[in-house]
Assembly symmetry: C2
Homo-oligomer: 328 residues x 2
């Protein structure tokens, strides 16, 4: 077996911790160090043998790390960190602000090309595995419709939004796809309506003592962009219930292509995920694509890439011969 691929992690929140756990499962990788903006002494990693260093020390590790997993948030961390590290390392990130992907791509492509490194951007499940399935299934069935459903899952952005409402002490939000619409799509029907008709939102709120619950509920249900166009339900619960019943981070969803071939034959392609832990799964995707970044770079394919540029064999630890013999 060739030498292991040496990985670094930048950022140690839920995603970074998931990445550490995922690297332990990969037969051909080892974790060199975790880099953090916090005081390294205050960061508790899963494997106590792993170095925890301040993010400014990363620059000294360009010879020791093959691929850096950038595990920050899309709002402010990644737009700043990925172009910076693409100049020093092969990188993988999970940038997920769909509308800003072209701009982000360009900002990473330039430093990566200049330094001769390879950066795979926007890796995870959406963008990521769902994106692959949208493109493959539309290419296979050009006549048809693609439907993406999200959930049942905890939405970080919407949970943050409800927690900012006056009188809310704590809370979470679940996105739930409409079972009825999913069944219609699976049966080859083409239900009308946008994504707002295909999902409902469910909030579990801990109110501050003496807060006006009716007002909280009204504020949430009418919140522009986040809730006003959705069917939303609000449940008030205790802090204890929130902790015991709503501290996991499940998520998932469905990409369904409903197409027609020949003289009106229906053909349905469905890809779905049912995840107990959203950050651990996203991290597992980053880790597998680190293998691809490493290999593409060895081949001289530098610059920014997306999941669309990566052949399936590149993310597997098996050789091309093994894949043909045992998996095809």
């Amino acid at each position: 077996m060739e030498n292991k691929i040496k990985i670094g992690i930048v950022g140690y929140g839920n995603l970074g911790r998931g990445a550490e756990a995922s690297i332990m499962q990969q037969p051909d990788m080892e974790l060199v160090a975790v880099f953090t903006r916090r005081n390294p002494e205050c960061v508790q990693v899963l494997n106590s043998n792993v170095k925890v260093l301040h993010i400014e020390e990363a620059v000294n590790y360009t010879e020791d790390i093959d691929v850096m997993l950038i595990c920050g948030g899309s709002a402010t961390d990644l737009p700043e960190q990925v172009p910076h590290f693409a100049n020093l390392f092969n990188t993988v990130d999970s940038f997920d602000t769909h509308a800003k992907i072209p701009e982000f791509f360009a900002s990473v492509d330039k430093p990566a090309k200049e330094s001769g490194k390879t950066s795979i951007i926007s890796v995870g499940w959406d963008p990521g595995m769902f994106s692959i399935n949208r493109v493959l299934s539309e290419a296979l069935l050009p006549v048809g419709e693609t439907y993406t459903f999200w959930g049942k899952g905890l939405s970080q952005g919407h949970s943050d939004a409800v927690r900012r409402v006056e009188g809310v002490k704590n809370g979470v939000q679940y996105t739930i796809p409409s079972e009825k619409v999913i069944e219609q799509v699976r049966n080859g029907e083409h239900p009308a309506g946008s994504k707002t008709d295909r999902h409902v939102r469910e909030c579990y709120i801990v109110a501050e003592e003496g807060a006006d619950q009716e007002k909280i509920e009204h504020t949430i249900k009418t919140m522009p962009n986040y809730f006003d166009e959705y069917e939303t339900t609000v449940h008030f619960i205790s802090e204890q219930e929130l902790k015991s019943d709503h501290s996991a981070m499940p998520h998932g969803g469905f990409v369904i292509r409903s197409g027609q071939t020949g003289e009106g034959n229906n053909q349905i392609i469905e890809y779905s995920l049912k995840l107990d832990s959203n950050p651990e799964f996203t991290a597992s995707v980053l880790t597998a694509y680190a293998r691809a970044a490493y290999r593409l770079n060895k081949e001289g394919q530098t610059g920014a890439k997306t999941v669309y540029d990566v052949a399936p064999g590149y993310i597997s630890p098996k050789s091309a011969e093994e894949l043909r013999r045992d998996y095809l």
Copy 2:
């Protein structure tokens, strides 16, 4: 828009006809000619403007055809035809004898490399899309189990087998996956048992007049390799019922990866197909991969390839910029 990709079809059975229908749906392709071993005058194609030529004339079309879809059977046609045509054209085929793929790959790789052509072998849904999903999901979730279920679908090989039984005038066989086992897998359980426990077989038989139905049923149920290890039911029906209720060619199936990350979080990835027409869908996959064969060849990537070597973007008619902007 660049010039259309010029396609040829070798073999005009169910798969070849499906390929013709699929090319009509692709915005960037045109069908140049159908090549057949039969008398071309006796072959009725869907679009009467398409040339039908004898297979021996193909050699005169090397300048006019970018990619040849080889639509013969895996038993005898493809092992002979694909190495032959790989010397003249970029090719795509649906070779599906899993155990013989390494040997078939080698037999195609050599002539394709010598002629500077690109051949994508074993394309379809299994091998093909199911193969991709087995590899991607195992790479993402290295700790876990992959389950492939086939059906409900008409199995060509098993239908041929029942038709060879003495006293059988006509008949079809459906492979049906066990709903109970699928549910167990979806719930993160790991049911024991092999693929014979996960599928049942259902036969619809038209007996010859005066034939011994009990004997037919016994012969089918005890047929080695095909039926003896499966739970099999046999229904006797009239020729008319067979024609009206069992002349479609539906198929489909499921690839489910049930994995664990971190401290025992279950993560389920499921890919499924529900196909009204198996040959039309398989043909649609061939057609989309013809685009990849064309592009890989333009880039100088010659020789035999499989779906594991093809990045998702290569089978889409959209540009890399469009994919990043609209699909990621």
